[in-house]
Subunit: 579 residues, 2 copies
């Protein structure tokens, strides 16, 4: 199994970590062929090192000593697993369908009265190894990391019980991140398949993974996933809580929910979606919607509130949740239980009433030094996207925004990775920090491995397009390396630099399979006589010197317009004057 | 062959034309199942009727009588086909690889001194049957069509020698259109395959098709395509002209080019890409680019200009081209030969110098009553897109903008339908009238049939997302019909309403293949116990009446913010007040 997950996605990729201050921060170096003008430096990209272990064994505990050395956690026996944690089938059988047999550590939690969150350290002015790790990954100053985390504008989701994870940061000032959802449902899929999807998603670039299992073996599936995950794992604990009460929303209680949260804190979940903004008075706002409530967690909580005619137990007990999260460093992902499920319902009163409430909860969590991100829509037409960023920034104090798409139209089931990537690129360019992927199966079924890959690649596109649009330092270097390789017909470099080398190569080879075509100065789009790239190269080769010697006035002089300075920022030097 | 092209893409679709004023304008009616609240009207969508004929016979000549009744054209023998029109191989063999054997009409052209363009009629205040047809298709007043065409803000590309075409309109005030490129290259593909791609592209929703063949049998491939095309056909005549001079750009002459243009006018090409904005002084602006000149036509003309140290023969002879186009009603698609081929080159001096020149040429063409659209980029980062619409509108007097994507990042070969759909949706929302599709094979090879379909569906998404964002009348009805079907678990209606029913159904069936699942109130994403849609429906059913009776204040009162009125425009009535 390991072989098929060799980390390198192309032979020109190699593991080339940054080593500094005793840390080893994974990066990939992509070796490049020579240009006509000389050799090219390897191109370096952000990467997650894992997964590389045998799934049965799990990953090494990278952060254990960092956590221990802070001296603020205690080991304890923890809550015993109850077979009902894995659902009724496991309870009957006396075991999950495939038990976790790798290492088991006792859980850690904060010493009584202590807080062990990255936000806590950051606010006290302390630089943690996690922050240093992140700063090296992001190629920025560690003080930027610390101050952004302290201000709540970025989070480093790192449960003390998930020491296997490689620290990463989510915030508008950093690279845009993407999340991949996996997880079984009552209808389909097994534990091994989910671990497989985790590894697969991470291999292609998922920055975090959410385990949204709702079927059998929930506890044990999560154990396998966390022990094998080099990226933060998120969950929606209400799903498991509902399983524990036989799927009847009315039967949920704060006690069952709290028990589930602690169970997951002890396992090492790094962030949890909590739909505490779905308050009783907001439920009526959804009844005239075209698609009502589409969030599973949101509909469960709405059902509960109405059945009991009571305020949400999540809202009522929010402070206790904060205390729990502060003891493990679990981050809130404040769930948008009332997100729109159709463009008709976008930006409506239900959605924004919840968002405003989430903003209040966010500030309350910060009082406990608990890290927070804010979930966002959903389905939103292109012209109504930016106000979501603006309202989130205003009401939630700049906490990282984490959106699902949004889909900009409802008419293309089977292609909702695309309808949503359009919205995702836009919302990320406008300030959203992390994008939850949408796969081609959205609205139709559970994603398989191919869908997971398609979703991840599509969202890497959206995230990177946003980074380029935001002018994130260094983001465009990747595009430029690709375009230079393209112009110089370095086909192998084009494959190696692409998000998905396998597909790029396969498409190329479909029409020009022969090996010499990899060095040919044309492709089958135009054929050998017509290649514009080659003609263009010829023009440069033949006339470049003559042209340079003509002398070139500035672009501003050419078109004489002040505001063109921005447009031409990349070309602000000298060009030849058209008459 | 006909069967596999049955026009209806789902059994719930039927041909349901609008009949008015002696015209029959194709539309599709999609029958819908009943809602719990009662029956649903069939949903009607824009459609192209053809292709439905045997490819060997071609389509009926819908517009022949309209053209004849205007009395402003003459039939003439026309230019004789020269076997070199089909390339050197055909010339040697004495025939194209598969001759066109269907009906051959003598070509038509304007009586000497007449102009037969839709713009000419519109400017004289005349309403043509083409305009009436278009107004019915677009559900708008015919005076809107006439005035937009008269002002140059929209075009109806309808060569008098392509009477098979169903009139359609391209302009920012109308539905956003998409173009699919097909065409062989020297390396691959046959005449039949290209006809097949035409029919396939049209079936999935291409509004126009460009035949970009550069290989053998250019003339005859085009004959097959035009005779079978219910949509306007565009070409880039410089490709064929170059074939006629053995592929050597320097050997091109105005005479060879002019002869090629007339050949194509007589065949019935509806619009032609003319790279007359690639002027000698602009060529040096490209030498410092990362990717030089990536337009084939642009590089040919740049090569010619430099080789001869002369101004472009297209620029020099532009008035004569206008006279020719006015005699057949061929529209200009003024080509962006200097469009950026990488995000690094976006919005640079070369690109905008050419666009400004194209603006001048556009106004010259209008002096001859010739219809014009303007081609646009290419590769442009998300934050640099809108200025392209703005400059085009300013310099080109509001002529329809027709862009290729643009791609918002360069790093994802194999997924450039997606990188470009992100840009396409944005540029169309900002004013672009027609989007040229990009397939997954872009930068890698020639698209096959699957790629053509993927490209078309992806661009239907981008175009529709833009129409929704622009608030185009009725655009969102489609989304709402889909979302209502989704909320009510009308699975067959969801498939029927989707852009690609086959894929939607296949994905659904992958996890829930049994027929009863089509009426099940859940899908495999969540399984039967967890479906939020169903829970939401239950909430509405159980509590709807109670909730309504509580009385609801306005949204403005809830959040008390002036500018939310726009955001909540769809919900501006009444909602329940959160505390």
């Amino acid at each position: 199994m390991t072989d098929s997950y060799a980390q390198e996605i192309h032979p020109k990729h190699s593991y080339a970590p940054i080593r500094a201050g005793g840390l080893e921060v994974p990066e990939t170096a992509i070796s490049l062929d020579d240009s006509p003008s000389g050799p090219n430096e390897p191109f370096r990209t952000y990467r997650t090192r894992g997964p590389w272990a045998q799934p049965e064994e799990g990953l090494p505990a990278l952060r254990s000593t960092w956590i221990a050395e802070r001296g603020d956690v205690e080991e304890y026996t923890g809550r015993q697993r109850n077979l009902l944690d894995d659902g009724t089938r496991a309870a009957k059988r006396g075991s999950a369908s495939e038990e976790w047999r790798g290492a088991r550590r006792n859980p850690l939690r904060a010493h009584p009265g202590k807080r062990v969150t990255q936000m806590h350290y950051a606010r006290r002015g302390e630089i943690s190894p996690e922050m240093e790790f992140v700063a090296l990954r992001e190629h920025c100053d560690v003080e930027k990391v610390r101050s952004q985390v302290a201000a709540g504008r970025a989070i480093i989701p790192n449960n003390v019980n998930h020491p296997e994870s490689e620290p990463m940061i989510i915030g508008n000032a950093f690279l845009t991140k993407i999340n991949a959802n996996i997880g079984n449902s009552a209808v389909t899929s097994s534990i091994r398949e989910e671990v497989d999807k985790l590894r697969w998603a991470t291999r292609w670039g998922a920055d975090t993974v959410m385990d949204l299992s709702t079927g059998n073996d929930i506890h044990t599936t999560r154990e396998w996933i966390i022990r094998n995950s080099p990226v933060p794992i998120g969950t929606v604990p209400i799903y498991q809580a509902l399983e524990k009460v036989g799927g009847i929303a009315e039967d949920l209680t704060w006690e069952v929910f709290r028990d589930t949260v602690i169970e997951q804190c002890e396992q090492g979940v790094d962030y949890m979606t909590i739909h505490a903004g779905v308050r009783l008075p907001f439920v009526p706002l959804t009844t005239r919607r075209v698609t009502g409530i589409v969030s599973r967690g949101g509909s469960i909580m709405a059902g509960w509130c109405l059945a009991h005619h009571k305020e949400s137990f999540l809202y009522e007990n929010f402070d206790e949740l904060c205390e729990i999260f502060a003891a493990y460093d679990v981050a809130f992902s404040l769930g948008d239980g009332l997100r729109p499920g159709s463009v008709a319902d976008a930006n409506d009163a239900a959605q924004f009433a919840e968002l405003k409430t989430i903003g209040e909860l966010c500030h309350r969590a910060w009082d406990f030094d608990v890290q927070v991100m804010i979930e966002g829509p959903g389905h939103v037409p292109l012209d109504m996207i930016q106000i979501n960023n603006d309202k989130e920034a205003e009401w939630c104090g700049g906490a990282p925004f984490y959106t699902l798409g949004p889909l900009v139209t409802d008419i293309a089931p089977g292609y909702d990775h695309i309808t949503s990537a359009i919205g995702a690129a836009n919302i990320a360019a406008g300030g959203t920090a992390m994008l939850c992927y949408v796969t081609p199966k959205e609205h139709l079924g559970l994603p398989n491995k191919d869908d997971v890959k398609t979703g991840v690649i599509t969202y890497k596109i959206a995230a990177h397009a946003a980074d380029v649009a935001k002018g994130h330092p260094g983001a465009r270097d990747w595009d430029d390396a690709m375009s230079k390789a393209r112009f110089e017909f370095r086909w192998e470099d084009q494959f190696a630099l692409s998000l998905d080398p396998d597909t790029a190569r396969a498409y190329h080879d479909e029409t020009l399979p022969a090996e010499p075509a990899k060095t040919a100065h044309f492709c089958s789009m135009c054929g050998p006589k017509f290649c514009s790239m080659r003609i263009s190269q010829d023009i440069r080769d033949e006339f470049g010197d003559t042209i340079e010697s003509l002398g070139m006035p500035t672009v501003d002089a050419v078109l004489g317009e002040q505001h063109m300075a921005h447009v031409f920022r990349e070309h602000g030097s000298q060009v030849y004057l058209p008459e």
